[in-house]
């Protein structure tokens, strides 16, 4: 038969093989192109920032320009560190979590319990829109809501509010998704034991979806920890360690921006970026790990 003959035709087979290998080579090149930026970024950060990361980096505030200039001209490591940024980021991310986690989880549970309702769809769409709002706009909002009326000036509280608004959609989403993974039979088991609704939520739904909730929170934290724009408008920065939430406070990404504006501090830019990058990578890896474990169960 002619069709069978076509399949056996030598030149056609060779053509097909050639097409296959072109396709394969193309895929490999594209994959390398996709992966290379991240590899190059990490390489660049390590080479340029590694020298700065020492004990002082974590225990000292940044040097003044003069100290930095002296060190640079002597070819030494810049003295001082990023303690103010480290503590500021810690303070603000913690506070943002305290605001965003309970609110986000409650909204997520509400959406899960009322899936088809009109108001649920409205809330779901609004959180998705919120996720797309540029972070600097959230900074402006926090400026308007907190900086001016509440703290009467730049403050850690205002920074936290802007970060909390950014975290909210991620937590709402991950809560709803992980609640959906819980089999209905588990809720039935609890109701059949006469457990009232609020206890079913607190004692069954939240513990059973803990892995998913935790992953969502970690991803939200890693999302906001490097945010700069909203912090510029809300907490400004501080050369010293500050724990007062009504006062201007530093943060790691703000420090990178400040170092960028001072030609003597270049090495500190790279050190801080390297540290921030590694930190975010670790958070991501941990959350992936938890998510994978959840899947097996």
């Amino acid at each position: 038969m002619s069709i069978a003959l076509d399949f056996d035709n030598g030149s056609l087979v060779a053509k097909r093989k050639l097409k296959n290998s072109i396709f394969k080579v193309g895929m490999i090149i594209l994959s390398i192109l996709t992966v290379s930026p991240i590899v190059l970024i990490i390489y660049e950060l390590i080479v340029k920032g590694f020298r700065q990361i020492n004990i002082d980096f974590f225990t000292q505030n940044p040097p003044d320009t003069f100290e930095a200039m002296m060190a640079v001209s002597a070819g030494e490591v810049i003295p001082g560190g990023i303690l103010n940024g480290l503590t500021g980021t810690l303070l603000m991310v913690l506070m943002a979590s305290v605001i965003a986690i309970p609110v986000g989880i409650m909204i997520g549970i509400f959406l899960y319990e009322n899936p088809g309702k009109i108001y649920s769809n409205i809330i779901r769409n609004l959180t998705e829109i919120l996720q797309g709002v540029p972070s600097i706009v959230l900074g402006l909002i926090a400026y308007l809501w907190v900086v001016k009326p509440i703290t009467g000036g730049y403050s850690a509280l205002a920074g936290s509010v802007s970060l909390a608004i950014m975290m909210l959609p991620l937590i709402v989403r991950s809560t709803e998704e992980s609640m959906k993974m819980i089999p209905d039979t588990l809720k039935e088991a609890a109701y059949a034991l006469g457990v009232p609704y609020h206890r079913v939520v607190l004692k069954v739904l939240i513990p059973s979806s803990f892995g998913g909730l935790f992953t969502g929170i970690l991803l939200a934290v890693s999302r906001v920890i490097g945010e700069t724009a909203p912090l510029m408008l809300t907490t400004l920065g501080n050369p010293m360690v500050n724990w007062d939430i009504t006062k201007p406070t530093s943060a790691m990404p703000l420090l990178i921006w400040e170092f960028y504006n001072d030609p003597n501090m270049v090495d500190l830019i790279w050190g801080t970026s390297l540290f921030l990058m590694i930190f975010i990578l670790i958070i991501n890896l941990i959350s992936k790990q938890i998510a994978a474990k959840k899947k097996i169960n």
Binding site: T185, A189, L193, G194, P196
Partner: protein
Amino acid sequence: MANKNIAQINNPILSLEDLKIAYDSSKYAVKGINAGIKKENITAIMGPSGCGKSTMLRAINRMHELYPGIRTEGQIKLNGEDILKMDTIAVRRKIGMVFQRPNPFPTMSIYDNVIAGFKLNGVKLKKAEKDEIVERSLLDVALWHEVKDTLHKKGTFLSGGQQQRLCIARALAFKPEVLLLDEPTSALDPIATSKIEDLLVKLKKNYTIVIVTHNMTQAARISDYSMFMYLGELVEYDKTKNMFTNPVDQRTEDYLTGRFG
């Protein structure tokens, strides 16, 4: 009421009076059932898929109210008191339920699963009381000797049959008056099934048991009374022996002889 195919039960612990249930306004899933349930007996509910067995059973401890928009008419009396007017939480503590798929709480140990009803309701118990309840309930379901050394392992590590017995123990921990089971063995193998059948027969000394089953030989083996439901109606209700040897209604006979269902 005076349907000759419906057995009249003297001093029933539970009685359903003109019970009607509709998921939505258009049609009833349960269409006016009148029946008494005899204390410390096993009553089996049979009938083809979709005839309303689960709906009726769930109504008895008001689990059917989890479906929004469901409507219930008539009365369900436990010792003469209408449970539809009682507090749901109190009803569910007096009338326990076991489901088709074993559903132990995956975050809890075997021990905590047994006392889950107390824990989840925030009832504080002394260690000795907890130990006593756990041992008694697990002995009741013949699981104690299999798990007494691994009480602090997760309940989900057990086999399917053991998990189902754990779920029965969890329901028994409250010492309910009635135990409802909705096809409790349909997800289990024959050995696990026969263990559960044996323990139900033992449990009827102290508990009233109502079991929905698709398995006619199971109903014949363990139940004292049987109901046959069809399209939301109770067609026939009698001593199991009578129903299996001498069904009155043609539809019951067709079902029992496997001609439909």
